[in-house]
């Protein structure tokens, strides 16, 4: 069966709109009105299409500060999307690379560079003759606006297997993510040769980018898994003043590193001379992605006091237990027995704030997620965890080992993700992503 719906019905329910146009003055007129309606920013499609009298909206599109023109830099020694402030929508997609030899990989990276440069810059959508399928999905209309998008490319350990002869170039710490005791990893949602982290102001912009890329590489990329994440837009606009809450209802990221602190980022996030990585890998970073389901029904049936001691913070204010303000620094030294903040509280295990654990710091860049539900009728939602660190072992892996067995485990279940290495950036237009990787070791 090729058709999965009853014949004659429209898959998206637009049939009624068409019918309306027909009665209002013929399909072509109706269509024209819809286009006019779309041309005027802020005019709802429904209103434009449903108006009986053909009164075209003449007002020029209002250019306001809606963020659709916001643009992040593409060219530079390091990729955007790592220390870039988080927009509201994320789409993380892992692929299997289908090529079998180095030239395939080179073609992939070269063309991927072009597509990403275009999507991050914006411009007119590609067109073709009317008899051909349009090269652009049209999801953003004829003008592909940047919408603050970043597309960050990372590679997985499997890319360095025998296919492309790159084994010697594998970043030092890059391994296939292995199971931690509380994990319930689902094979179909783990690992991958290539990872794209697509972040922008809206889910539609991200999906447009993904579809553009899928259409560009039918022979080279096979989808492996994808995960969509979101953050409240109003919180993002005031980032730094308010902290986003995760699905547990707790502020998440209060103690996160300041991504604007370049010295700190150079030390904690970006690979540099001191990390003894392969030459091509300088100015990259290790990216950890973990799909962490939170068992929210159970959490919501847990007494507030217990929730707070599990996390180590006040739920309402985000202040460390026993303190007043969100930004107050917990003083674990004066509380060795964990009378105020239990020694196994999440924040205390994650960041014990000792000189020895300073090298375990990581830059977190997580999003919330919510997708379907489980067979048992429970919500499938949680954290699309992302972290960046120059040393995967000292960073995420060590932090996660400290968290193994924490009381929070009763409420969370990591089910997927993987370890990846974010490639260095593209410095100029004649270069491409991973150029030094695929050419340097040929």
């Amino acid at each position: 069966m090729m058709v999965d719906r009853p014949a004659g019905t429209c898959p998206f329910g637009f049939a009624s709109v068409t019918g309306h146009d027909a009665t209002a003055g013929g399909p072509s007129l109706g269509r024209r009105r819809i286009l006019l309606g779309l041309g005027a920013a802020g005019t709802a499609l429904g209103i434009g299409a449903a108006k009986a009298a053909p009164t075209p909206v003449e007002t020029a599109p209002v250019v306001d500060n809606d963020g659709t023109r916001d643009r992040q830099p593409f060219y530079g020694p390091r990729q955007s999307g790592v220390v870039t402030a988080q927009p509201a929508a994320a789409l993380i997609v892992a692929f299997d690379v289908l090529g079998t030899a180095r030239p395939d990989l080179q073609r992939l990276f070269k063309h991927l560079t072009k597509r990403i440069a275009f999507l991050m810059r914006g411009g007119p959508a590609a067109t073709a003759a009317i008899g051909l399928p349009p090269p652009d999905s049209g999801l953003m209309g004829p003008d592909v606006y940047p919408d603050n998008i970043t597309i960050t490319v990372a590679v997985g350990a499997s890319l360095f297997d025998e296919r492309f002869g790159l084994a010697a170039e594998k970043p030092k710490h890059l391994v296939t993510m292995t199971r931690f005791p509380n994990d319930a990893l689902v094979a179909e949602q783990c690992h991958g040769d290539l990872l794209l982290q697509i972040c922008s102001n809206t889910a539609e912009t991200n999906i447009h980018a993904l579809r553009d890329i899928l259409k560009s590489f039918p022979d080279l990329l096979a989808l492996r898994w994808k995960m969509e994440g979101f953050l409240p837009p109003h919180t993002i606009k005031t980032l730094g003043k308010d902290t986003v809450r995760n699905m547990l209802g707790f502020k998440d990221g209060t103690a996160n590193l300041d991504a604007h602190d370049e010295t700190l980022m150079d030390r904690i996030v970006w690979t540099g001379e001191q990390h003894a990585e392969p030459a091509w890998a300088k100015n990259g970073t290790y990216q950890v992605v973990r799909l962490i389901r939170t068992l929210v029904e159970r959490w919501d049936r847990t007494p507030l006091g217990e929730q707070q001691t599990i996390i180590g913070r006040e739920k309402a204010t985000g202040a460390p237990l026993g303190m007043v303000n969100e930004r107050d620094t917990p003083d674990y030294a004066s509380d060795p027995q964990g009378l105020r903040i239990p020694v196994d509280a999440h924040i205390r295990l994650a960041n014990p704030r000792t000189p020895e654990t300073d090298k375990n710091l990581i830059l977190r860049r997580p999003f919330n997620y919510s997708r379907g539900m489980t067979n048992a009728g429970q919500l499938d939602m949680g954290l699309l965890f992302v972290s960046f660190q120059a040393d995967l072992e000292a960073g995420f892996i060590t932090v996660q080992r400290r968290l193994d067995g924490e009381p929070l485990e009763e409420y969370i279940k990591p089910v997927g993700g993987g370890y990846f290495f974010v490639m260095p950036g593209v410095e100029h237009e004649d270069s491409y992503l991973g150029q030094r990787l695929v050419e340097g070791s040929a």
Binding site: M1, M2, G131, A222
Partner: protein, 385 residues
């Protein structure tokens, strides 16, 4: 002009008898040609006793009008040659007379005869144009469509024969025979699936999957191949299947009857190639089509066969229009065939889909997805709206 049409007409009419759509196509094409004729600057070739003047002509691709003036003392015959093949000719041009020849030539080097056979031949060059080549006329599709109809008809005949064997085994209570007859029967359905889908009621009755029902396999409306597949492969019985088997048989016979009277449109045929590959990409690679019998590879290869057949029939047209597209399509069909060949059993059979390695499944995704992309441009490339 008139001459050209009168040559073409009987041949095409023979092919198209009984097909209303095709008659309409011819009408449209003739009209289009008539409108275009007379709008070009003719190229005058003067033939004398010793040769042509000019003796060398270059023209742009597309329609060209030649005026052949006989300045010699004898009746002559003027021909455009490609090697030994006569591409166009005008016979019996009397001394002092002029005849006109309108022709459309593909880019390349030609020769023209210039009076006496002993005279040196003239040179005719048709340049390669940068401009896109005009899509083939609907008339060019008449042949491929007629041949495709033959293919569809023979596949439906095979479907009826093989379904008869399948149904007989079920009704005889012979489980193993029924299992063995399942995939060989479906094979013929899957090859012509886009055509079968033109009859959505039958397509549903014959090939629906349980996923389409709210109550899944328990739904009483769930009939056809996959319903029987579940019974014989999962439940392991032929009991209680008589009614379902009889219904399948009558549905298949009904399909045959309807296909007999079917007018295959250019859109249905050309779009069918893309449709078959979409089918592979959407449900065959995932292995969800024959979930109980694991005979997905039979279906898979049948879909590919069906698409390949259409592409082969269209090849002369596609090659002219977009040689690079044709080359890519060939290459990707070959890649898919290479993976399928690894799992072949006998002449038409295949191993269980579970035998495919993860690497093989991934190896199929690339060429299948590329085929889907490329074949989606086929209609536009051939100018079929």
């Amino acid at each position: 002009m008139t001459r050209l049409v009168s040559i073409a007409h009987p041949r095409i009419t023979a092919l198209l008898l009984g097909s209303a759509a095709v008659v309409a196509l011819i009408g449209g094409a003739v009209q289009a040609a008539a409108i275009e004729a007379g709008t070009m600057d003719p190229i005058t070739i003067t033939v004398s006793n010793t040769g042509c003047s000019p003796a060398s002509v270059s023209v742009a691709p597309g329609k060209t009008v030649f005026k052949i003036k006989n300045d010699s003392q004898r009746r002559l015959e003027w021909e455009i040659l490609k090697g030994v093949m006569v591409v166009e000719e005008r016979e019996n041009i009397a001394p002092g007379f002029v005849q006109t020849l309108t022709t459309t030539l593909d880019p390349g080097d030609y020769q023209m005869t210039c009076g006496l056979l002993s005279n040196p031949k003239g040179i005719l060059k048709v340049a390669v144009s940068d401009a896109p080549i005009a899509p083939p006329s609907p008339m060019d599709l008449v042949g491929p469509i007629a041949q495709y109809k033959v293919y569809v008809t023979s596949e439906v005949t095979a479907l009826v024969d093989k379904t008869r064997i399948f149904v007989a085994a079920i009704k005889a209570g012979n489980l193993e025979e029924a299992k063995a007859a399942y995939a060989p029967a479906r094979l013929h359905y899957e090859r012509i699936e886009p055509v079968a889908e033109l009859f959505s009621d039958l397509d549903t009755a014959i090939d629906v999957r349980e996923d389409d029902f709210e109550k899944k396999a328990a739904d009483p409306a769930f009939t056809g191949f996959h319903r029987i597949e579940k019974a014989i492969f999962a439940d392991g019985t032929t009991k209680g299947l008589d009614v379902l088997a009889d219904k399948l048989m009558s549905d298949v016979l009904d399909l045959q009857k309807r296909v007999d009277g079917l007018v295959i449109t250019p859109k249905a045929m050309v779009g069918g190639a893309a449709g078959l590959v979409e089918e592979v990409a959407a449900t065959k690679i995932s292995g969800e089509e024959d979930r109980y019998s694991r005979t997905d590879l039979w279906d898979f290869s049948a879909n590919i066969d069906g698409a390949q057949k259409i592409v082969d029939l269209l090849r002369p047209l596609v090659e002219k229009q977009d040689p690079a597209l044709d080359a890519r399509v060939r290459e990707n069909f070959a890649k898919v065939d290479a993976v399928l060949a690894k799992y072949k059993v006998g002449t038409t059979g295949f191993e269980s889909y579970e035998k495919l390695t993860e690497q093989d499944r991934n190896g199929l995704k690339g060429p299948v997805t590329t085929l889907a992309e490329d074949l989606s441009t086929l209609r536009g490339t051939l100018g079929i709206n």
